[in-house]
Amino acid sequence: MGDDNSYDIRSILSQMREEYWQALAGEESEAKETLECLVFTLGGKRYAFETHYASEVIRVPKLVRVPAVQSLIRGIFNLRGEITAAIDIRPMLGLPQPEIGPTGRILVVRGENFATGILAEAAHGVQGLSFDGFEPVASGSGMKAQFVRGHFNLEEGNVILLDMETLLADPELVAGEA
């Protein structure tokens, strides 16, 4: 699309997000405020995203496998009458995939187009994460960083903040043929 008149909506969006983030970070750091996040474990590491993306956290129900779709869609389940997919985003983040055991949960998130369930090894509830300890992701730190905004240095260790907007907009989450 080398048209001069055309514009890349993605770059505009990410620029807007950047500005929003910077404005927010600037403002918040002055006030020493915290970001309310849902914290959970993926690939043995602690991850988080802002609570407003999450609609609920549930135990892993029976997942019905769907034929002929990409492997990250691990199955579908009945979320109070709505057929919902359970997805394993760990490969997207370059993480190992330890088995989802009894502590496993599904984090139901609502994207722009659909609600989907993210499989996590464990959920640790909602925490206010202080911006004081936030380090944005360094640019050029590789492909795997595309869904990561940065990390919080906490006493008990690192918590990585996911870029849920980018993640949920990723075409890899959608099954189907053209």
């Binding site: 699309m1 034929p67 002929a68 997919a85 989907t116 959608v174």
Partner: protein
């Protein structure tokens, strides 16, 4: 013209008139708001199209002049002033006058010819006696309410939830029965009595739910009549155009179907009837020479069969010639001569459904939409129907469609397969069979079994679906289902049959776009989902096209919206087509000329191109040829929308490589959308 149809039109007209009126009044106060013109133009245009559909020439003539005036205002050729707006309001009044007279069953007191002539001269002319709305007879409307389609769908969904919950109760009852059975004798009596009562309650609940479900579904059901009036018109016009004498009869007009299905059925019927007239019924002379009555007969009939509807289109024309079809199919590279030889006459008829077969047919396709039978087949699959062909050369052709009554609840066979539970819609189910390993033969690279004497390919359903396949060795009896689609039968081994059930169809949601093998999901008594199979996909897969998991690029391709390029030098047509398509979720890019279109199509890939013919610079035909010549656009459908209506123009368009041709005179948004949907979904 059916009364009902007229009523629908008048109701539609009322809405458009109201929005015309309010829009015009806003415009009068703010003449600078020319952005409103577009919506007004759309109102007038739709009204014109609808009036033409129901044969109300008077209204069509008036709205045409209004449209011309609005177009003039939009292009800046006419001033948006009080006088112009007055004139437009007068036009709306005239239409209202006619519709209200029609509703009362009276003749409108308006000299339309004079009115239009005066209108074109910009004179306000005749005084109109429009009556205040209150005076319209309201009695007929008093015991009906209008409901939002969304509300209806929601209602049906809720009833679906009720059915699922009832099933859950039923499975709890079964569990209770087991528990009761396992208890020591002393406690049993009381519990058994309790269980008996509960059973009765659930049974009564079941009865109520069934009643409720029937009523809720009934709200979405419409009789075939709602689409058949238009079909009568179509057949009449076509017969005239083609010089055929045809008696068209419709049986079963009162048969009701889900509105959604009926919408899907309409383009299919249009196509089948067009085929019957253009390829089936011979000229009166040819018929007389063959010892047939000069007048041909076309019969459209609908009837219930079990839980489905059978719709048949039958003509007593020249029939389909299996040998001719085979030759044509070989000539067009649809199959090789060896395959052709192996086909039976019955099977040969279905070659017409193969993609690529009907490319030559479109040249003679008088309806001007020129869409092949393969697209019809796709549409039938989309509404979960199956199709059977029967024909005797020189005598008749009969196309039978079997369709479900609704798409929201289906009868299905539940099977266990690869550790999961699947529902198979019974429309596609021929029978359940038990197969012994010793009964399986190998033929070529695949396995076959005999089903009622017919050699039937045998597949493993888990294998086809890419699930774990555990077929044990030894001469164990295997469970299989025999599926039918068009003329084909395949047998699929499953782990076990779990019985028949009415299943509530739930969509898989936006995360699953056009996913292969699946039609939707349902929720079983245990609260877990089960997937509903899309059987036609299995037949495709049976031909050996097994697809692996989607690559990231494919997934990406699936996610984007379908893109359409609209090429027209008229801003009205362009924007109109654009707004129609955008409202249906297509991404639209417009081009103002053929050159512009070529430039834009080189920069990005479109899924469909809609083009005008007459444009400054290279015309639509040349554009089509240029697109066809490029690697990137060789197979991308092109629709020509033009005011040129001669057969010669159509032929030229189709020879250039266009898939469909829509005449602007008969242009309405429905036709355009139907054609677009037929071609790219």
């Amino acid at each position: 013209m059916g009364n009902r149809y007229l009523e629908i039109f008048c109701r539609e007209a009322e809405e458009h008139l109201a929005s015309l009126q309010s829009g015009l009044l806003v415009l009068e106060k703010n003449p600078a708001r020319t952005d409103l013109l577009h919506e007004l133009l759309r109102n007038a245009h739709t009204l014109k199209g609808s009036a033409r559909m129901v044969g109300l020439a008077d209204i069509s003539a008036i709205t045409h002049t209004m449209e011309e005036q609005l177009k003039g205002m939009e292009s800046g050729e006419r001033k948006v002033d009080a006088r112009g707006i007055d004139l437009l309001l007068r036009g709306a009044d005239a239409v209202a006058l006619i519709t209200s007279a029609l509703m009362r069953g009276e003749k409108p007191e308006l000299d339309v010819e004079r009115f239009v002539a005066e209108y074109d001269r910009g004179e306000l002319g005749q005084q109109l006696h429009t009556e205040p709305r209150e005076s319209q007879p309201e009695a007929a409307l008093a015991d009906t309410v209008r409901a939002d389609v969304k509300t209806l769908d929601h209602l049906v969904n809720l009833v679906g939830e009720l059915i699922i919950n009832k099933k859950r109760l039923e499975s709890k009852l079964d569990r209770l029965k087991e528990i009761t059975g396992a208890l020591p004798a002393g406690h049993v009596t009381e519990l058994a009595a309790f269980r008996g009562e509960l059973e009765e309650d659930v049974l009564y609940l079941d009865y109520l739910i069934q009643e409720l479900h029937a009523k809720a579904m009934g709200l979405r059901m419409l009789p075939l009549r709602t689409i058949s009036d238009g079909l009568e018109r179509l057949v009449r016009d076509l017969a005239q155009q083609l010089g055929r004498e045809v008696r068209f009869q419709i049986v079963g007009q009162a048969i009701e179907m889900d509105r959604v299905l009926l919408d899907g059925l309409k383009p299919i019927l249009i196509h089948l009837l067009t085929n019957a007239l253009s390829h089936g019924i011979e000229s009166p002379e040819a018929r007389a020479a063959a010892g047939k009555p000069r007048q041909g007969a076309v019969l459209l009939s609908a009837r219930h069969q079990g839980n489905s509807v059978l719709v048949e289109v039958r003509d007593d024309g020249r029939g389909m010639d299996p040998a001719g079809i085979k030759t044509a199919a070989v000539a067009r590279g649809v199959l090789d001569p060896r395959e052709a030889e192996a086909l039976s006459d019955d099977e040969a008829l279905y070659l017409t459904f193969r993609p690529g077969f009907s490319t030559a047919d479109i040249v003679t396709d008088v309806s001007g939409r020129g869409v092949g039978m393969d697209v019809v087949k796709k549409n039938i699959e989309r509404v979960k129907g199956s199709v059977t062909l029967a024909s005797v050369p020189g005598s008749f052709t009969q196309v039978t469609l079997q369709l479900p009554l609704t798409l929201s609840v289906l009868d299905a066979l539940i099977v266990a397969c690869g550790g999961e539970t699947f529902a198979i819609p019974t429309t596609y189910l021929q029978e359940i069979v038990k197969v012994r390993a010793s009964e399986i033969d190998t033929l070529g690279s695949g396995e076959v079994i005999k089903v009622r004497g017919a050699t039937t390919p045998l597949y493993s359903l888990p294998g086809m679906l890419g699930l774990t396949d555990r077929r044990e060795a030894g001469d164990l009896t295997l469970s299989a289902v025999v599926l039918k689609h068009c003329d084909q039968r395949i047998a699929c081994i499953v782990d076990a049959h779990l019985g028949y059930s009415e299943v509530v169809v739930k969509g898989l949601g936006k995360q699953f776009r056009n996913v292969r093998f699946l039609f939707g999901a349902t929720i079983m008594g245990d609260g877990n989902p089960a997937l509903i199979l899309n059987v036609p996909d299995l037949f495709e897969s049976g031909r050996g096209v097994r697809r692996a998991t989607l690559s990231a690029e494919e997934a990406q391709a699936a996610q984007r919206r379908l893109k359409v390029l609209v090429v027209d030098d008229s801003i009205t047509t362009r924007t109109m087509e654009q707004s129609i398509l955008v409202s249906q979720g297509y991404a639209v890019v417009t081009a103002v000329s053929g050159e512009d279109a070529l430039e834009k199509s080189a920069q990005e890939q479109f899924d469909l191109v809609i083009s005008d013919v007459e444009m400054p610079g290279i015309n639509g035909f040349e554009l089509t040829r240029a697109l066809r010549a490029s690697e990137q656009y060789r197979d991308i459908p092109v629709i020509i929308v033009s005011s040129l209506s001669r057969d010669e123009d159509k032929r030229q368009a189709l020879q250039a490589g266009a898939q469909a041709y829509i005449v602007k005179g008969a242009f309405d948004q429905g036709l355009l959308l139907e054609t677009v949907q037929m071609l790219i979904g």
